[in-house]
Subunit: 148 residues, 3 copies
């Protein structure tokens, strides 16, 4: 690896950290259209908790809007923390990001708890200079048996 | 953005991450004078939980000392985690940092829990080469209703 | 500090973040041999919870295997989060890393909680280009009284 590649690499890691900081905050603060715009038009959001993946930016936005409304009605705030981020830049210019995720839940006037502990695997692509999520697969630890 | 600006940018993000790592540890380990020294002399610490902002390094230190004593008397340890950090370097050379924060609380011999889930908005300035907090505004999720 | 040194520094911080992302995931997913290989052959793992340090890669692996088996039998998943990372590159080419650590525990079908809040102090060395842990000292907050 050359110095320039190393440099690009370090920049990419930092760019990805900021991307997630912004993306999660959009979701957590109910800006669902802006949040959905961080997925590609044909983006896929999949989780083992749901029977079929959600496909397409508008379907992803609709799902987030439903969740945001439900949380607002219950006066519950979610905060999505992503951490332990590993990045693999592939030869086809996609970027695979593997991370841990926590959903921290706080009811108005109540006690914060961990709603879910998850792992997240994203495929990111760069469109007109911006990172976008082409696919996301979320695995909840409470639904997945640990390896023996 | 030129390569040099990109480089500076990446360095700044890393510098800010280390700054918070040190700053939070100082607070959590009761080094309140050293912690207060990470604010400017005229620094402001505000939270929606307190009626008026705390202004000035010595008042900020006094507040932290009171909290540290109270936790020590209760044999409770706090750990402040900052994450999901986004950085905006402004033309006036101030740096706005928006982040999520968790206060993890552990009583001696007891169970760790999340005491508070918060968001934090800092304005950082550089004084003699060192980052300092000029203002901090902390919003607790349990006191703030989510947007509808 | 020259520009090149600053560059190396920023790269090191990013390299260390990725190192921990990979290392913790190996442990949490039960790949204990691969996890143990992130320690030096003469690596030391110490904690105030255990009477004597575990010394040597094979002893470290054996300890992790016992823990992994126990968790699998209980259908419990652990996720190790490292954060608030501070890095000190020493003149002798060792790297001291101080961090906070959370062990997030999720039983199959159950609720995620924080099992432990800890601090971690590692000494890393570079062997054939790769970072390895030469020593790790973990302090659990529930066993350590806060300073008065």
């Amino acid at each position: 690896m050359t110095a320039v590649e190393q440099f690009t690499d370090t920049r990419l890691y930092e760019e990805i950290q900021r991307f997630y900081a912004r993306q999660m905050r959009l979701l957590d603060e109910g800006a669902v259209a802006d949040w959905a715009a961080t997925f590609t038009e044909d983006g896929v959001f999949a989780a083992q908790a749901t029977p079929t993946p959600v496909v397409g930016r508008s379907a992803i936005e609709a799902g987030a809007a439903t969740s945001a409304l439900s949380l607002a009605e219950q006066h519950v705030r979610h905060r999505h923390w992503l951490g332990m981020v590993d990045v693999e830049a592939r030869a086809d210019e996609t970027i695979v990001v593997r991370s841990y995720a926590l959903v921290v839940q706080t009811p108005l006037g109540g006690q914060a708890t961990i709603r879910f502990s998850c792992t997240c695997e994203d495929v990111l692509v760069r469109v007109e200079g911006h990172l976008l999520v082409r696919s996301r697969y979320v695995t909840r630890d409470d639904l997945a048996a640990p390896e023996g």
